[in-house]
């Protein structure tokens, strides 16, 4: 057998393996699954945001055609337990019980109240309409600031407060910096701003879906989830079911963006009813249900105070946040704003820093992770502040940034919020971005348009961002009271014919693991790309894993694969040495071949695999297997960074915003597949721009979501977005062997402030200092013309 001749796979723009099934319609979405005897579930949801359930009458529904079961919260009150929250951020955090089906009260509009299981979806739906629920409505809590004021109405009466927890960091107390109050008192310039991070909805395109088959020895759950492994563990712990009796499969999953990083009420209800009936049950949400009941993201009020010297040097930063949890704490809800605590200082050397966040309950859909989770919020606020400081000082905004950022020769650099950035080069990324953007020419055009009072004004927005990726060192997670570690697991198995199966514990849903992992393994083992198969998303084939979120797949997941691959090579080396009758130390491995040093005697690793299978002549004590497992726990986060520049044209007569050009230069370390990287950046930009200009989850005064369909919740279409110019600089991460940093969230984190800074910059000379997101034509017009803001 020949091993491949080798042009490195890593770095190649490989077309994706996973496309073959996706472009032909041979996909395996959860909703495609049909099992013998399978029943369909529909869920009745509360139309009101806060009420006592005074009665539920299911008698008529139970008697309808095809109906096998009608379940209310009272029926499963014991069995359902409380939905898990894995991140108790403080010892005294208040966390109300979170039922999957509401028992006595409903706390948000859209909360599940009853479920019908029937022969067909239509019959389940019909029976749902025959259930009568009486609600005694209670006053609703919707506004975060009001919720924490004295005498506020309560989301959860028995907690006695709407504040779940307050989490603080202070650089003087931590010994990482000075006293922020002193810095503010001494500041030659002090800038105060309050920003609002509107509530967003992840809006993955595939609605959530779950199928439960209780007929086997292991109960099997297929779910459109990002986290099959965590889901299995949480089902076991929440429901008191033995873990080894549960198998979870995430088949093809149509996007997640954090929105499928959840243990959902619907999964728990389907699990319980399927087990009770002994028959398979399927539930697929409608889009309206998804927008209303799947978790939301963002939703913070951010109060910032920045102190600086006249020359532009920042001397202190104080951040006070209110973060909306919604009605309950879901899987990582309370931790999301805390991730931001480490990112407000961003790429800057800030000598004194204080962060305090109060998590607040309201009668709204629970919030949780959404692409970036905590980091976009922080990045938005600090990058807006840098522009505000520049204006205050009459300095060029890039110059203020450069004055304060960590210089490339200063890495590794430990920040005021305790993280150690291993590498970076902000100068290089910025220089390249400026160049691609034509920065100076655009500034000149801006001045011209201002001078002649052009009705269409030009604005330039900057975002020089960084983020922490690769969740995460288990020790750090432990110090933040997170309920688990952040390692990842993998296995590499060489089959007798020399083909390779790779098992990864991270769980893709669009990221392209099958392609990128194949490239890495192909290079490492020196086998053809096509000879590598990536297995994932099934607890039966992949028994251990921490799944996919926080841009961790490559930095943690692929590192585990690499580690397992090294072990395979080590095993194979011993056997190859035996085959070539020499000592293992005399054997070199390169490009798939073991060679006796200084000779041309060699054997390919794929041939070793066959010899291992035959096992006719193995060294003593060597097992006939060329398989290895490994678990990788990173020692540090990784810190991608970049410079994003946005030019907007703002029509001052209509408030219409048009993105004229968008340039980003990202430094994500080593690149495995430039095609996938570019795609991740594009998609991330679209979501970040959507926050800046289009999307907002709006509730009316009764707590009803008024953006509950895709008519009202404005996910941008192709016609709403520009083309982007993307570029890369490469400063390798020093914290992992691949030198990678992660790319999944960069675009989303960086772009929102770049766009809003550009919009504000376009109309700053008209007396506008801020525009709340999303910057709709109405808001922009009002900002310019002093309307009701």
């Amino acid at each position: 057998m020949m091993t491949a001749t080798i042009e490195p796979e890593v770095g190649k723009a490989r077309r994706r393996k996973e496309d073959a099934r996706l472009i032909t319609g041979r996909t395996r979405w959860t909703d495609n699954i049909v099992l013998p005897g399978m029943l369909h579930m529909a869920i009745l949801r509360s139309p009101v945001a806060h009420a006592r359930i005074t009665s539920i009458d299911t008698s008529q529904a139970r008697g309808m055609s095809g109906v096998e079961a009608v379940v209310t919260g009272a029926d499963i009150a014991e069995a359902q337990g409380s939905l898990p929250c894995a991140w108790p951020i403080t010892d005294d955090m208040k966390s109300p019980p979170a039922p999957s089906l509401a028992v006595h009260t409903v706390k948000f509009a859209g909360e599940a109240v009853a479920a019908v299981v029937a022969r067909s979806k239509a019959e389940a739906q019909d029976a749902l309409e025959a259930i009568e629920v009486d609600y005694a409505e209670l006053p609703v809590v919707l506004d975060m600031a009001e919720a924490v004021a004295d005498g506020a109405r309560l989301t959860h009466e028995d907690l006695g407060t709407n504040a779940s927890a307050t989490w603080k960091f202070d650089s003087a107390e931590a010994g990482t910096g000075g006293d922020v109050e002193q810095a503010i008192a001494d500041g030659e310039v002090v800038v105060h701003r309050t920003f609002r991070q509107q509530r967003l909805i992840p809006a993955f395109m595939e609605p959530r879906s779950v199928v439960v088959d209780p007929t086997g020895e292991q109960l099997t759950m297929w779910s459109a989830t990002q986290i099959p492994h965590i889901l299995r563990l949480m089902l076991a712990m929440t429901l008191g079911v033995a873990e080894h009796k549960i198998r979870v499969i995430a088949p093809d999953v149509g996007g997640g963006f954090g929105g499928k990083l959840q243990v959902t009420p619907e999964e728990v209800i389907a699990f319980l009813v399927a087990r009770k009936l002994g028959k398979p049950v399927k539930y697929t949400e409608t889009r309206s249900e998804s927008l209303q009941a799947a978790h939301h993201g963002r939703d913070q009020i951010q109060k910032l105070t920045m102190a600086a010297r006249r020359d532009g040097t920042i001397t202190g930063l104080k951040v006070e946040l209110l973060a909306d949890m919604g009605a309950y704490l879901r899987l990582v809800t309370p931790g999301v704003p805390i991730l931001g605590a480490f990112m407000f200082n961003a790429i800057y050397k800030i000598p004194a820093y204080h962060f305090a966040c109060t998590n607040v309950f309201t009668n709204k859909t629970p919030t949780d992770a959404y692409r970036g989770a905590g980091r976009p919020e922080a990045t938005f606020a600090i990058e807006r502040m840098m522009d505000e400081l520049a204006v205050e000082l009459g300095m060029e905004p890039l110059e203020v940034r450069e004055k304060n950022w960590i210089k490339h020769e200063e890495f590794p650099y430990t920040t005021v919020s305790t993280l150690t950035y291993d590498s970076g080069n902000y100068e290089a990324a910025t220089a390249k971005a400026k160049d691609l953007f034509g920065y100076d020419a655009l500034r000149a055009e801006q001045a011209e348009r201002r001078a002649k009072n052009d009705p269409v004004q030009l604005g330039i927005g900057i975002s020089t961002f960084t983020e922490m990726c690769g969740l995460a060192p288990s020790r750090v997670l432990g110090s933040l009271s997170y309920g688990a570690g952040g390692w990842e697991h993998a296995a590499v198995r060489m089959l007798p014919t020399g083909k390779v199966e790779v098992v990864t514990g991270s769980s893709p849903h669009g990221q392209g693991h099958e392609t990128a992992w194949s490239q890495i393994v192909a290079d490492q083992l020196g086998v053809p790309f096509e000879d590598v198969e990536i297995l994932h998303g099934d607890t039966q084939s992949s028994h251990k894993g921490m799944d996919t979120y926080g841009s961790r797949s490559l930095t943690v997941g692929a590192m585990a694969v690499l580690k397992a691959g090294h072990k395979v090579i080590d095993k194979a080396r011993t056997i190859a040495a035996h085959m070539m009758e020499c000592a293992p130390d005399d054997v070199e491995f390169e490009a798939g071949k073991f060679t006796v040093r200084g000779t041309d005697s060699s054997v390919g690793i794929q041939d070793v695999a066959l010899a291992v299978f035959a096992a006719h002549d193995l060294p003593d004590g060597v097992e006939p297997s060329l398989d290895s497992e490994a678990t990788f726990d990173p020692e540090n986060f990784s810190f991608p960074h970049g410079t994003h520049l946005c030019a907007t044209e703002v029509d001052t007569e209509t408030g219409q915003v048009r993105i004229r050009s968008y340039v980003c230069v990202d430094d994500i370390g080593a690149v495995i597949n430039p095609l996938i990287v570019e795609g991740q950046v594009h998609g991330g930009l679209a979501q970040g721009i959507a926050q800046a200009l289009f999307e907002e989850a709006v509730h009316d005064e009764s707590g009803t979501l008024t953006t509950g369909t895709l008519v009202d919740y404005l996910v941008p279409s192709a016609a709403d977005l520009p083309s982007f110019t993307t570029g890369l600089t490469e400063t390798r991460a020093t914290s992992n062997e691949l030198g990678v940093k992660g790319v999944g969230e960069a675009g989303t984190i960086a772009s929102t402030p770049a766009v809003v800074n550009a919009v504000v910059d376009a109309v700053r000379h008209l007396g506008v200092a801020d525009i709340e997101m999303p910057c709709t034509p109405m808001r922009v017009w009002q900002a310019i013309h002093g309307g009701a803001r």
Binding site: L22, G254, G679, A686, S717, A718
Partner: protein
Amino acid sequence: MRISVTVDGTKYDDDVEPRTLLVHYLREQLGKTGTVVGCDTSNCGACTVHLDGHSVKSCSVLAVQADGCEVNTIEGLERDGQLHPMQQAFHDNHALQCGFCTPGMIMQSLDLLADNPNPNEHEVREGLEGNLCRCTGYQNIVRAVQDAAGKMSPGAGPEVERVANEVAGRHSARTPVSSGGE
């Protein structure tokens, strides 16, 4: 009600309930799960198929409205194991990530090229306005459609021309079809 339809070249005579949507008929009765449902308000375009050569959102058409018609889905585009040039272009240009919007995008893109065989970027973006993608930011989709347009144009080679002619042929027989709540 009794209907007779041809889907991806196979004829079906079936009983359907009057309220059954075409997309549910395709997915649940015929097992054509390549076509998917992404919304309940005809906004996402994930369910786009061709009905008598014209793209429709199959969630806004009743199965009975397809009686006597020819329906083409993503599953019928491949010929003799050869990808359609549009499928190939989506692959080549990395125009998909999770792939959930992809069947609808590809079907809509074909319709777009039938109307305008050589669209500029702006025209592609406008033509795909009714199809949402949450993953790609659309840039590579636009690229793919323009790439396919180039390859499907006359002179691009026998195979692609054959497919291009077929698409054009289907569209020349176009009859307007109501697409409900659009």
